[in-house]
């Protein structure tokens, strides 16, 4: 009953076998070997497994891998490299936005998605955008500040 699932993750094509009930999260973590997306609850409540699927923010624990057939995915591993962080990652680093870091992959994707939709968000926009991503360490302040700094940086870059 396994079937072949082919999709593109961070620009690389991936094709693996999946059971009909295998979640996209498990597929990414165990078949593709990309463990950056986090399994925090498997109930769609924590946001740790957030990825971009054809440009939309989704919780990958609630989607079956077979449903993502042919999709374009972006995970945390696709945002920047250790040597070349994305401006958003840079802002998180300088602002001290990451503590244990477990929520951070999901936060980064929620923030990426926000900044694509709204390049000039205010504090409330940012809080709303990450309200599906729980963080137990930071109290969110430094995360909100980092996202807002990234928006500023992007604006500066655009001139």
């Amino acid at each position: 009953m396994k079937s072949s699932v082919k999709l593109t993750v961070n620009g690389l094509e991936q094709e693996h076998q999946a059971e009909p009930r295998t979640s996209l999260l498990t597929f990414l973590r165990e078949q593709c070997g990309l463990t950056g997306s986090k399994r925090g609850c498997e109930e769609g409540e924590c946001g740790g497994c957030s990825v971009l699927l054809d440009g939309e923010l989704v919780t990958s624990c609630l989607i079956f891998a077979v449903e993502a057939q042919g999709a374009q995915l972006v995970t945390v591993e696709g945002l920047g490299t250790p040597h070349h962080l994305s401006p958003l990652q840079e802002a998180f680093a300088t602002d001290g936005a990451s503590q244990c870091g477990f929520c951070i992959p999901g936060m980064l994707l929620a923030a990426t998605n926000l900044l694509e939709r709204n390049p000039d968000p205010n504090e409330q926009d940012i809080r709303k955008a990450i309200s599906g991503n729980l963080c137990r360490c930071t109290g969110y302040d430094l995360i909100v500040a980092a996202i807002s700094m990234a928006a500023e940086l992007k604006k500066g870059a655009r001139g």
Binding site: K38, L85, Q89, G96, G101, R136, T138, G139, D141
Partner: protein, 753 residues
């Protein structure tokens, strides 16, 4: 402490682990990969809160295709384990004592098959009445959770009283009863708090292998690799050198990742199957089988004099310990030492009892016992001031603890920066005691807090490399940024740029013993050890330089990669050159450092919450939050600020929404849908002020600060709610339902009177 000229300590350098965390490369508990196939383990947990286990039959599960091993109590030595009191079997053998108690384990080629196998294990239970409340559990006719309690071996801290009371501690000074008799007024009130789960974002996860040389390797997300190793070795019945624990990156702990969980099951299944076994808890399992903050029942009685002094106080505290003593027994022992809060009361008695119930095992959660007792103490401060017509701020100031105030254990409290800390919070918030109201149903509330930070035995090794750079080896888990702060401490001590210092957390085979990352003492203990190791390194380098510099070691200093003669900057030799020249004869330069336990010293905080109460729904909105924190010296200010804000957020959860609830021993809220922790929309910006005044202990005068910031939050919010709507809620959490009822009751009371 003298003024210090610090270059690297005090700077907010980015955390050393930040890039791996931002790029998804950091390997957390479930992310560990080994070559070759891997089995998935699952645990059969008791569905009953209290029952005798009459029979376990695993035959059908073992026969299921894809199942590679099944483990039960029969696979382990018949020993009771426990760090304070030996009251637990790793797998339930005689009885199950809470919903989630471990009965058996299965390893299979997939999670689905492992789950299927669990359903095939037959267990015959004889149900017993369940206790879900420690007050009921103390009644003489209550069923006994551990009928054999008085025969259990006590390891540390626990002092069994009998019945269901697994530990009792009482300390006092003066004569509280005489104090009450002489007092101008006496106040008494009960406060109740619920079990709070740490709700770290990463559920418990581990992977174990049994190796061909008859050793075990356990990868696990834990706060302390040595404590974990010792527990695993004890349960497996093997010497500690045969277990290697590798700490993975840890996705939050807050005290909930100290006690051993499914590691021994994974190790046993690996031994039986010959393959590595990974066990990851579901979120529901983690809520059910974690080690939450104990629920407290506190009866607090206070006598005050006419001139605003607290002259006598008693606190009778009952802790809901859950099914096994664990960390709650330690907390029970420690409570009387800090429950006095930031005050000084001449006649004081604090009695704490840790009581077994048929619920999850309570243990440590950020400042264990702190927020619960503080909720009672700081609510009472305001309640008494209101009743007496006093200014609550003046009442506080009159009773603050002075420097060298002995706590109930007789230890003098040093570096008491409580007044400075209070003033700092007042200043950032603009708090005016005469004007706490901010408009209809809006007000401001204040609470002071303290937490005593000790230190635990910890060692480290500092290696000088040929090029003058250095590596610090530790066995500490980097939970809160400690490796970043240690990098700064070593760089400062050796006068090296941070790029030339690497701090690594290694495994139990490779690193000297280190304390767990807990108790706010991680940096204090390990930083002190690191400073010592740096002193040794310096001493060795200075001795090597005697010939070159024609000077004695006590006239030398280290700067910019050179040994220099003090006062003669031209007489220098590069460390690199010294090492190149002398290594062949004198051997490598390696420093060791180590500390024993420190006594516990206080860190203070003062919080001011601005709230809006919806009097129809009972919903509380935080408008603003200001927190000051006594830090001694901030090694890395941004890390300190992050600790304060995170601590406040957890306190807000405890104050307004969080509580594990049980019905007839069955847990009711085991997911984030029902167990609500604050989201970004539930919190305002948390304005933070670090109060710096070097402490007498700790590296460069740094205090422990991880835990204190959650302590005063529930009281500050409860006080704000009172100031907003005139209702004093004496139990946590103050959820909308409870507050709505209280507001309604008050209105009806007014209408009828």
């Amino acid at each position: 402490m003298e003024a210090q000229d610090l270059k690297i300590v005090g700077r907010s350098i980015p955390r050393v682990d930040v890039t791996s965390k931002l790029t998804g490369q950091a390997l957390f508990g479930e992310d560990v990969k080994l070559p070759g196939p891997l089995l998935h383990g699952k645990i059969l947990r008791s569905p009953h809160p209290h029952a005798i286990v009459k029979r376990i039959d695993t035959a059908a599960a073992e026969k299921l295709a894809g199942v590679k091993a099944v483990a039960t109590a029969a696979d382990l030595p018949d020993v009771r384990i426990g760090k304070n009191l030996k009251d637990e079997h790793y797998f339930a053998s005689d009885k199950v004592r809470f919903v989630g108690d471990r009965v058996a384990a299965v390893a299979a080629v997939s999670r689905e098959i492992a789950e299927e196998a669990l359903r095939l294990i037959e267990v015959e239970y004889e149900l017993l009445p369940a206790l879900t409340n420690p007050i009921d559990a103390m009644r003489p006719d209550a069923p006994l959770v551990h009928p054999d309690l008085m025969n259990y071996q006590v390891v540390a801290a626990a002092q069994p009283e009998g019945g269901n009371v697994c530990s009792l501690n009482s300390l006092s000074r003066g004569d509280p009863e005489a104090g009450f008799a002489e007092a101008h007024q006496v106040f008494e009130q009960q406060y109740i708090t619920e079990m709070q789960h740490q709700a770290y974002m990463e559920p418990h996860a581990c992977l174990a292998t049994y190796n061909p040389d008859n050793t075990y390797t356990v990868y696990t997300s834990t706060q302390g690799i040595f404590g974990m190793r010792n527990s695993v070795a004890e349960a497996l019945g093997v010497p500690q050198n045969r277990v290697k624990v590798v700490g993975t990156e840890i996705g939050g702990g807050f005290g909930g990742k100290i006690v051993m969980k499914d590691e021994v099951a994974a190790a046993t299944l690996s031994r039986k199957s010959g393959l590595p076994v990974r066990i990851v808890m579901t979120r529901a399992e983690d809520f059910m089988c974690g080690n939450p903050r104990a629920g407290f029942y506190i009866t607090i009685k206070t006598g005050v004099s006419k001139d605003m002094r607290m002259v006598a106080r008693t606190m009778e505290i009952v802790l809901d310990g859950g099914a096994h003593a664990m960390g709650a027994a330690l907390m029970c022992w420690a409570l009387p030492q800090f429950a006095e809060g930031p005050y000084s009361i001449p006649n004081l008695r604090v009695t704490s009892r840790c009581v077994y119930t048929n619920k999850a095992n309570s243990s440590a959660f950020r400042a264990p016992g702190g927020p619960q007792t503080n909720f009672a103490v700081e609510s009472e401060t305001e309640r008494i001031a209101t009743a007496m017509g006093w200014d609550a701020l003046a009442f506080r100031r009159k009773n603050l603890m002075p420097e060298d105030h002995p706590n109930l254990a007789g230890t003098p409290m040093r570096s008491v920066n409580v007044e400075e800390t209070l003033d700092a919070a007042l200043e950032i918030s603009g708090y005016d005691p005469a004007q706490t109201g901010l408009g209809p149903n809006r007000a401001r509330g204040l609470a002071l807090g303290n937490w005593n930070v000790g230190g635990m035995p910890t060692g480290t090794v500092l290696k000088m490399n040929d090029d003058g750079s250095a590596n610090l080896i530790t066995g500490v888990v980097d939970l809160t940024g400690v490796n970043t702060s240690l990098t700064q401490v070593v760089a400062e001590a050796l006068q090296l740029p941070v790029e030339k210092v690497t701090v690594k957390s290694l495994d139990t085979d490779s690193a000297p013993h280190a304390a767990q990352s807990a108790g706010s003492q991680t940096l204090k203990s390990m930083g002190t050890a690191a400073v010592q190791a740096a002193q040794e390194v310096k001493q060795q380098l200075f001795e090597l330089a005697v010939e070159e510099l024609d000077a004695t070691p006590d006239n030398m200093e280290l700067a910019e990669g050179e040994v220099r003669v003090q006062g003669s900057p031209e007489r220098t030799v590069a460390v690199r050159k010294l090492l190149a020249k002398h290594m062949a004869n004198s051997g490598p330069v390696v420093g060791k450092g180590g500390t024993g336990a420190f006594s516990r010293m206080p860190s203070f905080c003062a919080h001011i919450a601005d709230v809006d109460v919806d009097s129809e729904t009972g919903r509380v909105t935080l408008l603003r939050y200001c927190a000051s924190q006594d830090v001694g010296v901030a090694i890395n200010p941004v890390i300190c600020i992050g600790q304060v804000q995170g601590g406040v957020a957890q306190g807000v959860g405890m104050a307004l929404s969080e509580g594990l609830t049980y019905q007839d021993g069955q847990p009711q809220n085991t997911g984030f849908l029902d167990y609500k922790i604050p989201s970004a929309l539930d919190l305002p910006m948390i304005e933070t002020k670090l109060v710096e005044k070097p402490a007498v202990e700790g590296p460069f005068g740094a205090k422990g600060i991880g835990e204190p910031p959650c302590v005063p939050v529930p009281a500050a919010i409860a006080n704000a709610i009172y100031n907003a709507v005139g209702v004093r809620v004496t139990s946590l959490p103050i959820n909308p339902e409870k507050l709505r009822r209280a507001i309604k009751a008050k209105k009806e009371g007014q209408a009828s009177s």
